[in-house]
Amino acid sequence: MKFLIFLIFLLFPYLSFAQIPVKEIKNEEVWQGKIFIDGIVAVRNSGKLIIKEGTEVIFKTIDIDDDGIGDSELYVEGEIYVYGTENFPVIFTSDKPVKEPSQWKYVMVNHAKYAYFEHAIFESAFSGLQIHFTKGVVKNCIFRSNVDGFRFSTANIYVCNNIMTKNKHGIRYEERDSKGIIEYNHIFDNEIGIFPVTACYNMVIFQYNAIEKNGYNIKVGYEQKKDLTFKNNYFGMVFERDIKKTIYDKNHDKHLPKVNFKPFLKKNILRSRIKCLENGY
């Protein structure tokens, strides 16, 4: 009996740290209806994933490595096309009835051929969507109740008319070698609206966004060196001194660079109908 108990004790680490199940997509695959992801779905570089309107992609809440972040994820190195519509968006969510951040990991697009997201909802993830080393278009999507709504680095991106709300960071990025335009997005009610962490060089243009009612509308990361420009955005206020208070930069910590936000919009132009560019800039 003692021997049996000792045996179980030796094997317990192995039993409790089972491998995360992985499914690979190497060719073209189309999703519609309800899709359950238990573990990792990896779209390989030869793969192409098309997700049709109204599809619900439900990530099972598992945390095998016990780091407090769900382990289910969609990992794309091929192509991904998400074709939601206004009335029938594609939803990326967890399997829990009560949605909270980090219940699943992310939709990660990394060294991929192309990524297109239209009318998708990302909720209750660690990061709703991450794009790296890829050209990506993200339009008319909603990012809510995630730790990071949208996150990117070294990407060519067009991000237009999206809503980022109730996340810890609406948009978090390390620009590095990125280029792109982020425009007409409504970024509100997040702890931090926009978090430029480090290595940002104003090559990604933020314009015509409504960045308002966040804990900080913009918070500059401690390792960011260069002054940043966020011109032609609406901050929910008309006076410069009020806007300054919502931006955590040199004015709060002399070691940080400055955020230049002038000229700023005095009206929220998102009230009018926005037409994003079809395939990006």
């Binding site: 992985v22 690979e24 990792i40 390989r44 990992y75 080393f133 890829t134 050209k135 070294t154 070698d177």
Partner: protein, 335 residues
């Protein structure tokens, strides 16, 4: 308990049988040096493992167990002291080696007080006694890191061979200088590149002090040994483009962490030649994440040639023996 003792005895015996010959020659300029001390230090220069002297023709011979070592030679002649470091330091001994050492004059350093709350290093880099322009000084926390990313590094030396490093948190560091003829800051040294070690490594740099140091350099002559710090297993493969043609000028890397780039790679290969072939040496068996890229250091950039091992979804390979015939397809990022 009896079995355990037998197993332990067996492993101890194996260790005793496995030791390797390290031999080489100590030179001062063109002349071999007789009677030079050759000391073998452990990985971080704390303890001397063995010591010997060169013979009449400047040769030395050592027997060492498998492990990581630094070789240093010292010599005194006509009141002048010379010191030399092997350009391979620290290197992993798992086979017999030839290790030559060049002696260089020992330069004293000066210390002055400063009013900052940090240490400052003002250095002069020399080659053949003359200032070396365009060299970079690197600060490392440990000799283990010396072929990877440094803790801090300087701007290239000016025409007087001078560099300055400021705001150094007081502590112990290894200072190494390199100048690569291809102009890049990082990556393995090629023949003809310059390197030098601060002759008092590791050195404790104190607060409120400015150190004026001199680092003599030597040229790397040959590089027949594999570019690895530890190398128990070998992965051999080829880098090709999307048309299947061999790609030259890229190097293979291996990480232990799935999220590449968060740490220094465990190993990198030499850059591929026209045949696109690379050889990666790995320190132990296990799971590695491998790929190929063009530039050294930092995040990959747009237009850089880059590729990952594609036989597994997360680019890992399990290594428990030498592996051949790996193919990695390389593309330009975001092009």
């Amino acid at each position: 308990m009896r079995y355990l003792k037998l197993i332990l005895l067996f492993f101890w015996l194996i260790q005793e049988v496995y030791c390797y010959e390290i031999k080489g020659r100590v030179m001062l300029g063109d002349r071999p040096v007789s009677g030079a001390n050759v000391k073998v230090y452990e990985e971080n220069y704390k303890d001397i493992i063995k010591e010997t002297q060169t013979d009449k023709e400047g040769y030395y011979l050592l027997e060492l167990d498998e492990g990581i070592y630094n070789l240093v030679s010292e010599f005194e002649e006509k009141g002048k002291i010379y010191k030399g470091f092997s350009g391979k330091n620290p290197f992993f001994v798992n086979e017999s080696y030839y290790v030559g050492i060049k002696l260089l004059p020992l330069y004293r350093y000066k210390v002055q007080k400063n009013k900052t709350k940090s240490a400052i290093i003002v250095g002069t880099v020399l080659f053949n006694g003359k200032p070396l322009e365009g060299a970079t000084a690197f600060l490392y926390l440990s000799m283990k890191d010396i072929k990877g990313m440094p803790y801090l590094y300087s701007q290239p030396t000016d025409k007087n061979g001078k560099f300055i490093l400021k705001n150094i948190i007081p502590g112990e560091y290894f200072v190494v200088v390199r100048k690569k003829n291809n102009g890049s800051l990082f990556g393995p040294l090629e023949e003809g590149d310059y390197m030098g070690f601060f002759q008092y490594n590791p050195f404790n740099f104190e607060m409120n002090k400015t150190y004026k140091i001199v680092i003599p350099t030597f040229k790397k002559i040959q590089d027949e040994m594999p570019l690895h710090l530890k190398g128990q297993y070998k992965i051999k493969g080829i880098a090709v483009d999307e048309g299947g043609r061999p790609v030259s000028g890229v190097y293979a890397f291996a990480y232990k962490n799935k999220e590449l780039g968060h740490e220094r790679p465990v190993s990198i290969s030499k850059k591929t030649g026209n045949d696109g072939v690379f050889e990666l040496y790995l320190p132990s068996s296990g799971k590695y994440y491998i790929g190929v890229r063009e530039f050294y250091g930092g995040t990959p950039v747009q237009g850089e040639r880059y590729g990952l091992y594609e036989e597994s979804f997360d680019h890992h390979i399990i290594v428990d023996k030498d592996i051949e015939n790996i193919k990695i397809v390389v593309k330009k990022i975001l092009q």
